[in-house]
Amino acid sequence: MIDAVSVGMMATDTHRAIEAVFRIEQAKLIAGLTRMVRDVGVAEELAQDALVAALEQWPKSGMPEKPGAWLMAAAKHRAIDLFRRNKLAGRKHAELGYELEIEQETPPDLDEALDDHVGDDLLRLIFISCHPILSPAARATLTLRLLGGLTTEEIARAFLVPEPTIQQRIVRAKRALSESRVPFEVPRGEELAARLSSVLSVIYLIFNEGYSATAGDDWMRPQLCEEALRLGRILAELAHEEPEVHGLVALMEIQASRLETRTSPSGEPILLLDQNRARWDQLLIRRGLAALERADTLAPESGRASGPYALQAAIAACHARARTAEETDWARIVGLYGSLGEIAPSPIVELNRAVALAMLFGPEAGLEIIDGLTAEPMLKTYHLLPSVRGDLLKKLGRLGEARAEFERAAGLTRNERERKLLLDRAAICAD
């Protein structure tokens, strides 16, 4: 006998199972549909329609054997309906509708057919979501929505902005792509490098948003890190011959290995050199080092030097390999920051090089460089400059100056917990 409670339970279980299926299938679905209808916004709506159909039918009929193929077939039916009713304005309906019907008539093995296209389509979807006509914020939002399958509410929470802002950003981004007739393709030749670099920076932006929350009192949002890592791992499968893709994955894997040790149980941030290395995630470190090795092998094969992500990953790897903070190979880190500064000159890289130099030769060596950076416009509001300067001054016993620097840094950071940490350090200098 089945009572009302267990029927209710079954319905909830089925709904949760359907959501799990959809999470797995959504990106592939949207990608495949975009290839057919040539409009990412329409494709997303069709995928949502397929989800609604599944939520209606699966609780009654049971889960289909191949849920991905079922969803795709449902979405295609819906697409054909739309084309027949001529609801898509401004496109060559007849032609597209014809293409859809042909495909519909010849599904010898839909799964196989899907497999053939799926990698290419996903890669195209990544490129279109990270298209340079969109603002960096719009790229990250669209990528999280279409490829990560995050809800607008989840994205809003992650970026600490109101949900309507995210909804609008997505609507505008999809409209911009549609109006500009951005082709659904993987760029080739010279364009590829620039477009790939946009994709990588979007993924790293998502990762960093989770890794070092720039605002609010939430020190990190691990879910964003996990999502960025998953996207990076997917991209590494799709574009496996690109060294920088592996470089980025390596960087994120190694940084993520420290996620658990970056805060104390009470939520205070713990700096890299003070972290409990026994708790660094060795599985992620191993994966990161393997990805770095792939990047380092592929770069010379393709006649290129290591790119900025591979170099940053190599620096992260120096820390990961050191069993204690004292064993850190600072000389190598100084060299890597030097190389990074050559291909991607930035005062922030220079600041990091100064820190490594200070570890290698003592605080004066670092301070000398940092004093030359204080006039940099880019670092005017960067809290880590006074924070690092304060550190070095403190080591030199110049406590009054150190205190002023920590207080200045506290005034610049947007992160509540970091502000508290900086004010604590300022207070120590006053004792």
């Binding site: 998953r230 658990e260 104390s264 050199l273 003070d274 409990n276 026994a278 708790r279 994966r287």
Partner: protein, 141 residues
């Protein structure tokens, strides 16, 4: 969230040393492993030799005692595992359902413990360790 998917093949508890799955089964499983990897959820995986090639160390009376495999009392043994990172338990289950397993195989899904799952006293022990490390470092400067 991390999950371990543990493969439990019935009969493996009695398998002779050196028993390995046949080529057809391996081929199907490789396709599945690839799907996990392409979806960006696979962290690591391994297959394990049968218990007849292993040993058990038990601690009756507080003293370690070694028994060579196979183990007469074992009804279920692990044949291999996948470690995956997914958003929910439901997603882990959904992935397990897609495994091309045979009818005498079972997959058990178990969430991996995180530090935040431990009671406050255990977390506090870790905090103490970090403070100790920090103090040791500052003392040297």
């Amino acid at each position: 969230m991390r999950f371990m998917m543990l493969m439990i093949p019935k009969g493996y508890e009695k398998a002779a040393p050196g028993t390995v799955p046949d080529a057809k089964a391996v081929k199907a499983m490789m396709k599945y492993n690839e799907a996990l990897q392409k979806a960006g959820v696979l962290l690591t995986l391994d297959g394990l030799h049968p218990p007849s090639m292993g040993a058990r160390v038990s601690f009756a009376g507080g003293k370690p005692k070694v028994t060579d495999g196979p183990f007469a009392e074992a009804k279920e043994v692990i044949g291999g595992y996948w470690m995956i990172e997914v958003k929910s338990r439901d997603e882990a289950i959904e992935w397990a359902k897609r495994c091309p397993a045979s009818e005498h195989e079972v997959i058990e899904i178990r969430p991996v413990q995180e530090m935040s799952d431990f009671p406050p006293d255990v977390q506090k022990a870790a905090e103490g360790f970090e403070a100790m490390q920090k103090a040791a470092r500052e003392g040297r400067q």
